[in-house]
Symmetry: C2
Subunit: 220 residues, 2 copies
């Protein structure tokens, strides 16, 4: 594999998993030595992260890992609403019923997964749903736009993580979306998506609120 590709994947992982925390400065020499490659492919990786919005230029000198403020979360979800509703609409119009019936069956079984606290398996199922929706939407521009958004959403998982009751509710909401798409009902699919994202945002904001005002008022 190309060195620039490995560097991009590694840095991206590190940022999404919060191993590189927001505000961390990424020097070219420093990172190229850490990853064992030269500056040229590293710069290519950093340029991609910059266009992803995962790092930002800080006043001429060096790149920093971007932060995710509460305000950012709300803005992120405004964009997500616009894109995913449109994708849901188009997916409902072009879907292969067999594919989405199969996904519906899996979502009906999802509560079982969650009772076993197998969150990773659930996230994997959601990822497959996203992929199926992307494919069914049959619109590469829409897919490109939503794909550029997903890394930022992955970073939010750390906030909403391990909230089992929310995941259970989310599974029910996902099921409704999948059933609407399977049935080819584009307006229901869009509305169900709207509802799901509204509930997700509400849950995340409530959790973020709790994290930023812990019991003893000590900021993180």
């Amino acid at each position: 594999m190309r060195a620039s590709e490995r560097a991009y994947a590694a840095l991206r992982e590190d940022i999404l998993e919060w191993r590189l925390e927001p505000g961390t400065v990424l020097g070219e020499v420093e990172q190229s030595e850490r990853l064992g490659i030269s500056r040229t492919p590293l710069r290519e990786a950093l340029a991609r992260l910059l266009s992803d919005g995962l790092v930002a230029a800080q006043g001429g000198r060096g790149l920093v890992v971007t932060t995710v403020s509460v305000n950012d979360i709300a803005q992120l979800f405004d964009l997500r609403q616009a894109l995913e509703q449109q994708i849901a609409r188009q997916a409902a119009q072009h879907r292969d019923p067999v594919v989405f019936e199969a996904l519906a069956a899996e979502f009906r079984a999802a509560p079982g997964l969650l009772e076993r606290s197998d969150h990773a398996a659930y996230y994997e199922l959601v990822a497959r749903l996203d992929a199926a929706m992307d494919a069914a939407s049959a619109n590469s521009y829409l897919v490109t736009a939503v794909r550029s958004l997903r890394p930022h959403l992955v970073r939010l998982r750390r906030i909403s993580r391990d909230n089992s009751s929310r995941l259970l509710a989310a599974a029910r909401e996902h099921l409704l979306i999948v059933e609407a798409v399977a049935a080819g009902d584009s307006e229901l699919a869009a509305s169900a998506t709207h509802v799901h994202l509204h509930q997700s945002l509400t849950s995340i904001l409530a959790t973020a609120q709790m994290l930023s005002t812990p019991p003893e008022g000590i900021p993180a």
Copy 2:
């Protein structure tokens, strides 16, 4: 100015103005010599064009300027609908009435511009409207997404260019959008945007149809 920046701007211009036509292969050595810079900054410019979607990797070797098919136009407008309706909604909520009243006055005067065939001035006015809407939407993610779309739309101007009657109708549609935003009516702003984009798409597709089936059946 940095060499990589100049190279990016130059190549982007060349593509948007159709001086580099779709399908043109961009070799690294060839282009770096043409622009008088070395391969390193040129590669950075090409990487940015790649993430913009203006060029695409062609089977491992070399980058080509992307084409814009009729199907692409429809997909582009699906995404544009989703984004610009959301921007219109949020702009209506956060707008400064003074700014949009002033823009409304300019759009009322727009038919005068168009009668004088001053299309460039009209496009400049639309660009200022876009900028005002972006700012008023107060959502950087939304703005980033729509900005990544605009280069592709600029390329379409060559198809719809010099259609005075369509521009006159577009000016009326824009006026309604601006008035709705100025009044803070977000649902009207969204619907007016929907109507405008629908009419624009219809016009472009009709023109594209004519271009692809000219009077004597000779393809372009």
